[in-house]
């Protein structure tokens, strides 16, 4: 009687219904859990990538994994292995070409990743495999298979463990690689550690967001957080919350309105970004307008001090 009443009251709230009703479908529960997990992994790495200024590198690696996915399916090995090898290989190629030529880094990145991507396109049209190019490009979390879920979880867990263990070194590497070198730490190893977790994260997010949208998952949550706080630990939390929220709600939206899941997730993230940009308490556009004058006064006082 009592529970019946509670159910009745809760049932009257439309949002609750909206959230609970789809949970009776197994595939949707799975999709929501997977995308929430992917959201956390991307959010954590996103803080480092944003601070290091490696957004373009993220874009490059995500495109470079395509031939790896095709080859993996053709050879009947897990897609994650092929994707990781090619994604990481592209970063090594970028580093090598940059050190051997006079080209600037952005040009090298542009040449290498489009080259890898194009090679993948050629392979996918020539090698007989059941790779659906559309799914690689745009993600398909609603139709994700058991095997793909397992690979996603392994790659994501590995990423989280590596970052958890090396988080201080990675932060130092992003902030002040010269100091890291000055105190005798192996900066080359830090560089490749960060590149490996970048490639691993892209492998993790591949099935959910797709290649085109992965870069948004790698850049936007960290950027949202960076606009809202000056402390790295808060940055991680804000990044994770905004990412998971977008991933879960995006999956719902995708189910209800029958739109692309990756697209819905990234649209939600972008909306959060715009809100943070406008309403951020310290660095938001509105706050900046209000405090501009008074901050200048404060700075003058601080200088006189």
């Amino acid at each position: 009687m009592q529970t019946n009443l509670i159910n009745h009251v809760i049932g009257a709230i439309p949002l609750w219904n909206w959230l609970v009703e789809p949970l009776q479908y197994g595939f949707l529960v799975r999709a929501i859990l997977v995308s929430a997990f992917v959201g956390i992994v991307c959010a954590v790495l996103s803080c480092y990538i944003t601070l290091k200024g490696w957004s373009l590198m993220g874009d490059a690696v995500s495109h470079a994994v395509v031939p790896g996915v095709v080859v993996a399916y053709a050879l009947n090995i897990p897609f994650a292995i092929g994707a990781f090898i090619f994604g990481f290989g592209a970063t090594v190629a970028i580093g090598y070409v940059k050190s051997k030529t006079r080209l600037k880094e952005d040009a090298v990145i542009g040449v290498i990743f489009t080259g890898f991507f194009a090679f993948g396109l050629v392979l996918v049209t020539k090698i007989p495999s059941n790779v659906d190019l559309f799914h690689i490009l745009f993600g398909n979390v609603l139709g994700i298979s058991q095997a793909d879920i397992i690979q996603t979880i392994i790659a994501g867990s590995l990423t989280l463990i590596i970052i958890l263990l090396r988080r201080k070194d990675l932060l130092l590497f992003c902030f002040d690689p010269n100091h890291a070198k000055a105190i005798g730490l192996n900066t080359q190893l830090m560089y490749y550690t960060l590149l490996s977790v970048l490639a691993l994260t892209i492998v993790t997010a591949l099935q959910t967001a797709g290649i085109i949208m992965v870069v948004a998952m790698l850049v936007t949550p960290g950027s949202i957080a960076y606009l809202l706080t000056d402390r790295f630990d808060y940055m991680l939390i804000i990044s994770a919350i905004s990412s998971v929220l977008s991933c879960v709600m995006g999956t719902y939206v995708s189910y209800y309105f029958d739109v692309s899941t990756g697209g819905a997730i990234v649209v939600l993230m972008t909306i959060l970004f715009i809100l943070a940009m406008i309403f951020g308490p310290k660095y938001g556009i509105i706050a900046q307008q209000f405090t501009k004058g008074s901050l200048e006064d404060l700075n003058q006082i601080a200088d006189i001090e």
Binding site: L51, R102, L165, K168, D169, L171, L172, C174, F175, D176, N178, H179, A180, K181, A182, I183, G184, L185, Y226, T229, D230, R231, F232, M235, N299, A302, D303, E305
Partner: protein, 259 residues
């Protein structure tokens, strides 16, 4: 304060080339004597930063070698012998780290794999903050500091690292007179404790007041010795302009064409 065994730095026939095949530094040889405050003086673009970055191992010289206290730079760094205070321009002041976080980074080389600070690390960080007078700002994000406070925060990091050799790249740029005096007093104390200090600067006025020795640099070492001997009008005009410089430039252009 316990004193330490001072170390010297020997730069032997160093040449550094950048990617665009330009020689930044040519045939540079000099010695930073143990337990001195030595100034590295020269015009902007004259190779001061290049020499600094080579001594710290951030740049790989094309020719020549650098020895710190009898060790290669890499080995000296692994033993935490060398601390470096960067130029203000080389730091991302918007980075979400606090003053305390930055100073703690000076201790990473002593910590375990997970970089978990011990009570000794915390104590040294607090002492270093105290010594530069930054204790009350320890929880500030680094971008919220004034120019002088920023310098003191990074100086505290060098103190926390306890390096015998301390290199300061342009420590007086963007710093008010009061802070400059304060930094100089601290450097003199550090010398008494046995540190070897090398500072790069174009602030000629302050060099004579506290630097024991001076190295004059414009793409190669032009003069070095005690500040009294070295700081002559002739040497300075040679470093910052005038005939000998032009002839050197000529030599450089010749060299880079050959390369």
């Amino acid at each position: 304060m316990n004193t330490i065994q001072p170390l010297d730095i020997t730069v032997d026939n160093l040449s550094v080339t950048y990617n665009n095949a330009k020689l930044a530094l040519y045939n540079a040889s000099c010695r930073v004597q143990a337990g001195t405050i030595t100034a590295l003086v020269g015009p902007n673009g004259g190779g001061k930063s290049t020499l600094f970055k080579s001594i710290m191992g951030f740049l790989k010289p094309a020719v020549g070698r650098i020895i710190v206290g009898g060790l290669s730079v890499g080995k000296a760094q692994k033993k935490q012998l060398m601390a470096y205070v960067p130029q203000a321009d080389d730091v991302d002041w918007n980075f979400p780290v606090s003053v305390f976080d930055v100073v703690m980074m000076g201790r990473y080389g002593y910590m375990n794999f997970l970089r978990i600070p011990t009570s000794k690390d915390r104590r040294l960080v607090n002492e270093s903050l105290e010594r530069v007078g930054m204790t009350e700002f320890r929880d500030r994000q680094i971008g919220e500091l004034s120019g002088g406070q920023r310098k003191r925060a990074f100086l505290a990091r060098a103190l926390a690292q306890q390096g015998q050799v301390i290199l300061l790249d342009e420590p007086f740029t963007g710093v008010d007179v009061k802070t400059e005096k304060r930094i100089i007093d601290l450097l003199i104390q550090l010398r008494v404790e046995g540190h070897t200090i090398l500072i790069s600067t174009h602030d000629l006025a302050s060099v004579a007041t506290f630097c024991d020795r001076t190295i004059l640099l414009n793409r190669t070492i032009l003069a070095s010795g005690t500040t009294e001997e070295t700081f002559t009008e002739e040497n300075l005009s040679m470093t910052f302009g005038g005939l000998p410089l032009n002839s050197i430039n000529h030599m450089f252009n010749h060299q880079s064409e050959a390369a």
